[in-house]
């Protein structure tokens, strides 16, 4: 099974059919996706700005991050569920959409950045939990995190403007003549 087969299977699933047949589905699911994305971005930013030493300087890094973690994950899970639902509605179009593909790569990069931070710099957090100035590795991870998550939002919004028009017409083809 190729990735394209998987995409088509999602599109042909009951979820895809339901999304296409229910008039209210798309606006409600999209609005929920925005709310979920806003929660992920905002809560991630709270932690990243603490790591960068801009805000919450007197609060322990672990306190700030533990407080936000539940909201970040709740928002992320909700964003994935609503995202898959939107994908299912137009699977083939999304599959071939460059902005969509870049968004998935950026999401993977954001996840990788978080994993590296968790397995690396964060392991010694007891030593710098209350310090205003965190280790360089932590600051780099936080800066990358801000950059990647903001990019995810930008590229995601771009999908809506390229969907369906994301193809190159060969020079020798006159589109008007191909319409019967």
């Amino acid at each position: 099974m190729t990735l394209h087969d998987l995409a088509l299977a999602v599109g042909n699933s009951g979820v895809g059919a339901w999304m296409r047949s229910n008039l209210h589905a798309m606006p409600v699911v999209e609005a929920t996706h925005v709310l979920a994305a806003a929660t992920v971005l905002g809560t991630v930013l709270v932690v990243d700005l603490r790591l960068l030493g801009f805000t919450d300087r007197k609060r322990a890094v672990t306190v700030v991050s533990r407080e936000m973690l539940g909201f970040t994950w709740a928002g992320f899970v909700l964003a994935v569920i609503t995202g898959v639902m939107m994908f299912a509605a137009n699977a083939n179009t999304y599959y071939g959409n460059t902005a969509f593909r870049i968004k998935l790569l950026l999401l993977a990069a954001a996840g990788l950045n978080m994993a590296i931070f968790n397995l690396g710099a964060l392991r010694s957090v007891v030593q710098w939990d209350l310090q205003q100035r965190t280790p360089r590795a932590a600051r780099v991870a936080a800066a990358l995190s801000v950059l990647l998550w903001v990019s995810v939002i930008f590229v995601a919004r771009w999908i809506g403007f390229t969907k369906g028009y994301d193809f190159a017409v060969p020079d020798n083809v006159d589109l008007d003549l191909t319409i019967p």
Binding site: M26, P27, E30, A31, V34, A38, T39, L45, F161
Partner: protein, 161 residues
């Protein structure tokens, strides 16, 4: 209103924004990033009132931590929103969701101002109002997205139907 929207849509400024292909997606992206800031600021202020977050800090400390996010975020949202309205006034002004969003936005801003007054003085704030404030802001986000789907959401009630 319809005439005003059509007039605005035909102004050189509106046409200039409409015809700059990357401008609208860029402004919408900034708008969404700012929604993240403002929504999480509202969320944490509400949770502080409810005693569910940052209880180790005085309410006034939590207010001064998130009020700047709220203030600056709302300013950027208003500016990007204004340019987006100028670019597509007919689409916005004929949408029920747009007017409902504006009404809820006024309520949401007033509610957070009332909560802020209590938080700043470390005085007890209404828990019911806190919950209501969060719900109103969630509704603002929902109806913001629903502007693009007025007929789908409102059916025969929509002016566009």
């Amino acid at each position: 209103m319809q005439h005003f929207a059509q007039w605005l849509q035909a102004t050189p400024l509106s046409i200039a924004i409409q015809s700059t292909s990357w401008l609208i997606p860029l402004l919408q992206s900034i708008h969404i990033v700012m929604i993240g800031l403002v929504f999480v600021a509202v969320l944490l202020l509400v949770l502080r009132v409810l005693g569910l977050a940052r209880t180790d800090e005085l309410p006034s400390v939590v207010w001064s931590r998130f009020a700047p996010w709220l203030r600056r975020g709302v300013i950027v949202l208003a500016l990007t929103g204004l340019v987006l309205i100028i670019s597509e006034p007919v689409r916005e002004f004929t949408a029920i969701s747009f007017w409902l969003k504006m009404l809820l936005l006024a309520l949401g801003l007033s509610a957070i101002a009332v909560l802020g007054k209590a938080l700043r003085r470390d005085a007890p704030a209404s828990r019911g109002l806190a919950v209501l404030t969060l719900l109103v802001w969630i509704a603002v986000i929902f109806f913001g997205r629903a502007i693009a789907y007025d007929v789908e959401v409102w059916g025969a009630l929509s002016f566009k139907a």
